[in-house]
């Protein structure tokens, strides 16, 4: 029973009926303000006390991270305070804890009248309390802004221990870290396939090949393997295609294959080094790095390898392009004045701006699913860790603190 509960988190929607007036009021509210004033109130208990990971605190952290709320962490309902701070919405709830099992109700209410706007009920085990809280944060975020929040997203990354590098996964907020590969070799460039699998480059066979494995369990399985270098995979869920760099034609070029590793096609035929491909969110364009003009620069091409055009002209070295979820920007690593930093450019080549303005080597950007943050590896605090920053260069926050995390891939999965 417990296993069953753990395996299947039951999400029950308690109340999904909306009054049209409420909806209209919400839409008008959203269109009038950049940030929504919102209060989060500690949940009341119907039995037992949650020892860790208080769900209302998790939700408040989520909303704060999104930077789209004027958040008040209230100690209790205080309509006078809410009115004074122009807070019209609040989140509250209640829970009942029986052993490891928890039953929780989360609500969005009119902060002044206490009228219920939306409610959702969760039932599961205590270990899933953060998942439940993140799920409700996403639900609320979608109600307020019409798009899914990043609060249930996860980040793949590499953590090294001496010469050994393995793939790990963590929640978007740096919690719930888990090791995915357990090899004694080098593993690099992890990328999500979907919510169940991932691809990465591994030296398991003594040379760089592309492997796939389950996110839950399972041993690595060769995906693209040859006597040449096969590296930097990127998966497109739109087309169920994988692009990667391979040296099977003497030098590194970009190749594409189906999601099952078949139907391999070469996309670039240049004598220069072409590598680090990444997909546009629509799954038709590919950004990649090429030194065909002498220095590594970002190029764009379509999925057939046609219409190749150079995107970047500034800086002598560019690497690891990452396409924004909205498709209009590309973040990448660039060396300027001898320093590695994260830069960003519009896909039409305009508005090239520096994102990170902090000490250390800042590289390997990856966008959050909603485009509100960019995760990257940095030696900002001497050792290499993962940090998140908003595209406008604000909101820097650490996500890992082990001093050995790098090459992040942030995904909605």
């Amino acid at each position: 029973m417990r296993t069953a509960l753990r395996a299947g988190l039951i999400f029950l929607i308690l109340n999904v009926s909306f009054l049209s007036a409420d909806q209209i009021a919400l839409e008008a509210y959203v269109s009038s303000f950049d940030s929504i004033p919102l209060a989060v109130i500690p949940f009341s208990t119907g039995g037992g006390e949650i020892p860790l990971n208080l769900p209302w605190e998790v939700m408040a952290d989520d909303f704060e991270f999104s930077n789209r709320f004027l958040l008040l962490r209230a100690e209790q309902r205080d309509t006078a305070l809410f009115a004074a701070k122009n807070i019209m919405l609040c989140i509250d709830g209640e829970y009942a804890l029986t052993g490891e099992n928890i039953f929780m109700t989360c609500n969005i209410r009119n902060a002044l009248t206490n009228e219920l706007i939306y409610g959702k009920m969760y039932s599961g085990v205590l270990g899933d309390i953060r998942k439940m809280a993140h799920n409700f944060s996403n639900t609320a975020y979608e109600l307020f802004f019409g798009e899914r929040g990043p609060f249930e997203s996860r980040i793949l990354f590499i953590a090294d221990k001496g010469p050994v590098k393995n793939v790990f996964i963590m929640d978007y907020d740096g919690r719930n870290t888990r090791q995915l590969t357990h090899t004694s070799t080098i593993n690099l460039f992890p990328c999500f396939v979907d919510s169940t699998a991932f691809l990465w480059t591994s030296y398991l066979k003594g040379r760089p090949d592309i492997f796939t494995a389950s996110l839950v369990a399972g041993s690595p399985k060769a995906f693209i393997s040859s006597r040449f270098t096969d590296t930097s995979p990127a998966y497109s869920p739109i087309e169920d295609k994988v692009v990667f760099a391979s040296s099977r034609n003497d030098n590194l070029d970009i190749y594409i294959c189906d999601g099952n590793g078949k139907n391999l096609k070469q996309l670039t035929f240049n004598k220069a080094i072409d590598t680090s491909p990444c997909w546009s969110p629509a799954g038709y364009l590919i950004a990649f790095i090429s030194d065909r003009t002498g220095q590594p620069q970002i190029y764009l091409m379509d999925v057939e390898g046609a219409n190749v055009r150079r995107l970047t002209y500034e800086g002598g070295y560019q690497d690891s392009p990452a396409w924004s979820p909205k498709g209009d920007k590309i973040a990448y690593t660039s060396i300027r004045d001898g320093k590695l930093d994260i830069w960003m450019i519009n896909t039409d080549g305009s508005n090239c701006v520096k994102v990170t303005d902090i000490p250390g080597r800042n590289e390997y950007p990856s966008w959050s699913p909603d485009g509100s943050y960019i995760v990257f590896q940095s030696t900002f605090k001497n050792k290499c860790d993962l940090f998140a920053i908003r595209p406008d260069g604000t909101g820097l926050r650490g996500l890992s603190f082990t001093g050995n995390a790098k090459m992040p891939d942030w995904s909605a999965f």
Binding site: A282, Y284, L300, D302, E304, A306, D328, T347, D348
Partner: protein, 243 residues
């Protein structure tokens, strides 16, 4: 002594007398001549008076005539001055009209120039937006933008390029039949266009998607002939070899 003196005086008087008589005759003759000359001169003077009188009359007549002529000349000059003034006024008006026309022409030129510049700027802006939409994966919106450019800015380089990108937008949306028409349209109308290699490649890829291998190979053979060594030709060669 006294007698000697008297004799001397008498002799002197006689000499003097003789000399005086002789001088008198000479004087008388001179006087006659002078009288004659005076008479002659009187005649001459009379003639001169007459001539002077005639001359004066002539001068008077000439003056009168000159006065008349001056008067006429003045009148003529007045007419000329009037004409000049009139001409000046006319010239002034002509100049004014010319200035107006010039201003109008300059304004028209400026407006035309501005209009053309605005038109070009508008076209470039539309093109950039459409390209940006394409790069951002908004293919349906980009398609509308490129179609608008072809319609509104026909005959321009951007219209030519947009014709190609219409095909690309359709291809990206997997609307292969429409993409085929669009790429064929480009190849037909712009056989020497910048994007003809790309259009031939994509047309072949459309046939490849439609499993029309013969049509694909025909188009790609043309691509290899027309664009040897191009990236499109390399791609087509690789695809024909099954790579």
């Amino acid at each position: 002594m006294r007698a000697t003196t008297g004799s001397f005086l008498s002799f002197l008087l006689l000499v003097l007398f003789s000399a005086g008589c002789s001088h008198y005759k000479s004087l008388k003759q001179d006087l006659t001549v002078i009288k004659s000359e005076i008479d002659s001169m009187k005649v001459t003077l009379a003639e001169l008076d007459e001539r002077l009188s005639n001359q004066n009359e002539l001068t008077r007549l000439i003056r009168a005539d000159q006065q008349v002529r001056f008067k006429e000349l003045k009148e003529d000059m007045d007419v000329v001055a009037s004409n000049i003034t009139e001409s000046q006024i006319k010239l002034s008006k002509i100049d004014e009209k010319t200035q107006q026309l010039k201003k109008g022409w300059e304004e028209k030129t400026r407006v035309d120039s501005l209009h053309e510049a605005a038109r070009i700027a508008e076209m470039e802006s539309h093109y950039e937006v459409a390209r940006s939409d394409y790069s951002s994966g908004r293919y349906a919106i980009a398609l509308g933008g490129f179609q608008d450019i072809v319609k509104r800015f026909s005959g321009t380089g951007r219209a030519e390029q947009s014709t190609y990108w219409i095909g690309e937008c359709l291809y990206a949306q997997k609307k292969y039949t429409e993409a085929e028409e669009s790429f064929m349209d480009y190849i037909k109308h712009f056989p020497a266009g910048d994007k003809v290699c790309g259009a031939l490649l994509k047309l072949g890829l459309v046939y490849d998607k439609k499993k029309r291998v013969d049509a694909r190979d025909t188009v790609w053979e043309k691509l290899l002939q027309q664009c040897p060594g191009s990236e499109e030709a390399l791609l087509a060669q690789a695809r024909m070899k099954g790579k």
